[in-house]
């Protein structure tokens, strides 16, 4: 600690130092904040020249890309939201504390897997596999929830000793081998089903009956890959919101005779609703801006189509591959900057909304007497 016996003479110097340092920190801090805000200003400034060309031109060029971005994000959210929220509910309310303290870092690691790796696996491994096993993939989507319920039913029927051995609070872990078995069963079953129910080839059926085209790299693949990437961020925020519910609320509900599930459905979800909403919003923001996964897994087709089996092109992927070649000041350059600006504005608005909602929620918990 500072010696209290400093000679008086140094005091003005110390105070001067302090003033200077405070000034520097202030200047530095404000400078950094301004630099960050400069992003928005720069993007807006660089899009101004486009105004001279009129709105319709830019719109016609960018609207398929904007649609592709939305389509990819919707696909990813359809895949990620149920899984992430289910995982959050389970880990906040049912899971054993020890497993939970291990699980959260594990899912954080999932978030750390770089997009370029996920994109590579999705584009060069998953996409050809799904193309060859389309029926299996679709069957898996139905089969896995069913097999989870089956596991639950079997567990309820099982002997009490086994139930103690495999407690529900650890189900997140011991269900893994079960799911692996179930995936294997589905893969074994699918060709048989395809042969007997769908007349041999699902893709031909789609093509001939419904005129649906199938592209190798399509919205389904992007949805799975990008869903994988956004699950952890939705999970983390939703889990926080659920775990921070004042325990008195849940205890009160259960004391009044509600089952754990009823307490969750009637008390926890409405209370934590805003937090979950903001988690989903932040996930959507990530999905909209993710570049490498879409670039490598989407096929990069500028189409207006809602089919999950057709490709798409997103704003971010277009920026990544076209901008390095665009000459600065040219038309393409400004168009791509407009694309970047729209991504920026969209994610910024979505995140702000999520953040405001989350802060409200925090205040609400505070009022209810929970953890701050």
């Amino acid at each position: 600690m500072t010696s209290p016996r400093l000679p008086r003479v140094y005091l003005p110097l110390r105070q001067l130092q302090d003033r200077i340092a405070t000034g520097l920190i202030t200047a530095g801090g404000i400078g950094v904040l301004l630099a960050i805000l400069a992003i928005g200003v720069f993007l807006a400034w660089e899009t101004l020249p486009l105004l001279a060309l009129g709105d319709t031109f830019a719109l016609s060029k960018l609207s398929p890309l904007a649609w592709g971005t939305l389509k990819a994000a919707i696909a990813a959210m359809l895949f990620a939201t149920p899984i992430a929220l289910g995982a959050a509910i389970y880990s906040a309310l049912f899971m054993s504390a020890r497993l939970r303290s291990r699980l959260k870092p594990a899912l954080e690691l999932m978030e750390a897997v770089p997009g370029v790796v996920v994109g590579f696996i999705a584009g060069l491994v998953l996409a050809p596999w799904v193309e060859r096993h389309l029926a299996s993939t679709l069957l898996l989507i139905v089969w896995l929830p069913f097999s989870a319920i089956l596991a639950g039913a079997l567990w309820h029927l099982a002997a009490a000793r086994l139930r103690r051995r495999l407690p529900h609070s650890w189900a997140g872990l011991w269900l893994i081998p079960w799911l692996v078995c179930m995936v294997a069963v589905a893969l074994w079953l699918a060709p048989w089903l395809e042969h007997h129910l769908l007349g041999g080839d699902l893709r031909r059926l789609l093509d001939q009956q419904y005129g649906m085209d199938y592209a190798t790299r399509n919205a389904l693949i992007v949805g799975i890959a990008m869903g994988f990437a956004v699950i952890p961020s939705i999970y983390a925020l939703a889990e926080d919101a659920l775990a921070d519910i004042p325990p008195t609320l849940m205890e009160g509900a259960q004391a009044l005779g509600a089952s754990r599930w009823q307490a969750l459905w009637k008390v926890a979800l409405p209370t934590a609703g805003p937090g979950i909403f903001s988690a989903v919003m932040i996930g959507a923001g990530r999905a909209v801006g993710e570049t490498m996964i879409v670039l490598m897994a989407s096929g990069n087709t500028a189409l207006f189509s809602a089919s999950p089996f057709e490709g798409l092109r997103s704003l971010s992927a277009a920026i990544a591959i076209e901008l390095p070649e665009a000459s600065p000041g040219g038309l393409t350059y400004h168009l791509l900057i407009l694309a970047a600006l729209s991504l920026f504005l969209f994610t910024f608005l979505v995140n702000t909304l999520a953040e405001v909602v989350r802060q409200r929620l925090r205040r609400r918990y505070h009022r209810l007497g929970g953890r701050p």
Partner: protein
Amino acid sequence: MKGNGLWLRKKYPLRLALLGTLFMVAQLAWGQPTTTAPSLPSGTLGAVGSDTMAGLVLRWGEALTARHPEISLQFQAGGSASAPTALIAGTTRLGPMSRPMSDSEHQQFVDRYGYPPLELRVARDALVVVVHRHNPLEALTRQQVDAIFSTGLTCGADHAIRRWEELLEAQLWPYGQIALHGRNLASGTHGLFQQQALCSGQFRVDISEHPGSSAVVAAVGESPNAIGYAGYNHLSPMVKALRLTDQQGRDVAPTESSIQRGEYPLSRDLYLYVNLPPGESLPAAEQAFIELITSAEGQQIIRASGFVPLPPSDPNAQQPW
């Protein structure tokens, strides 16, 4: 608290920041751009140019270093358009390009130096139309290629081709709609295919635009209903390259010999432009590089990179530089 005080006296971040700033200043004060030809040590050779030829030029560089350990080649792959700029600016003497210099680029060079650049044709390349390796389709005419890939039918086909049944018998290849694969807008391959195969028409919108030729080949190799175009040097056994019908009505396969003779319709030349004043000889490093290219080893590297050497009868190939 004592331990923490110790941390502070070191002031790591501050020092590091200072160091960083110093490096910046050092850069500004003494930094030399690495491609400046005149200031280079005699052993370093600079080349700027085509992205397509990057693999070829870099392999030549590796072989050059193996021959003359004191010489090393640095190559900046900035696309063919970057070669004339660098040649005119004098930052390099070697400019590999996957197309000939345009008239305006040529004129700018002449305006700057008073003599034209030495143009060497070094190899041939081609664009191939590829399908899945088991696809029974063998050949396409230019009209068919256009009818498959474009919207405008500029080459004179009467209707667009959307399904495999229109090209093959349904029992042979029952894969329904044709899935199109190609390169992204910014690439030279995209432009060349549009100009040569589509008669400058517009691509269909549902084509998958891949960021690289090998991505096209990989995608086509994995899906039976696909067709795509890629550079000849990216061909792999995953796919089958189709024969194309030339103007005389013959089906020409993209083989080394047909590309070498220029019979294959979508072939092009690869160039190396050299800044060489008339009557002067090249500096030793450049001389060694060009000797390597013309040597048997250099020609073998062309084939090893997937390109096609020029025919021996080509006057350029035997010209004693």
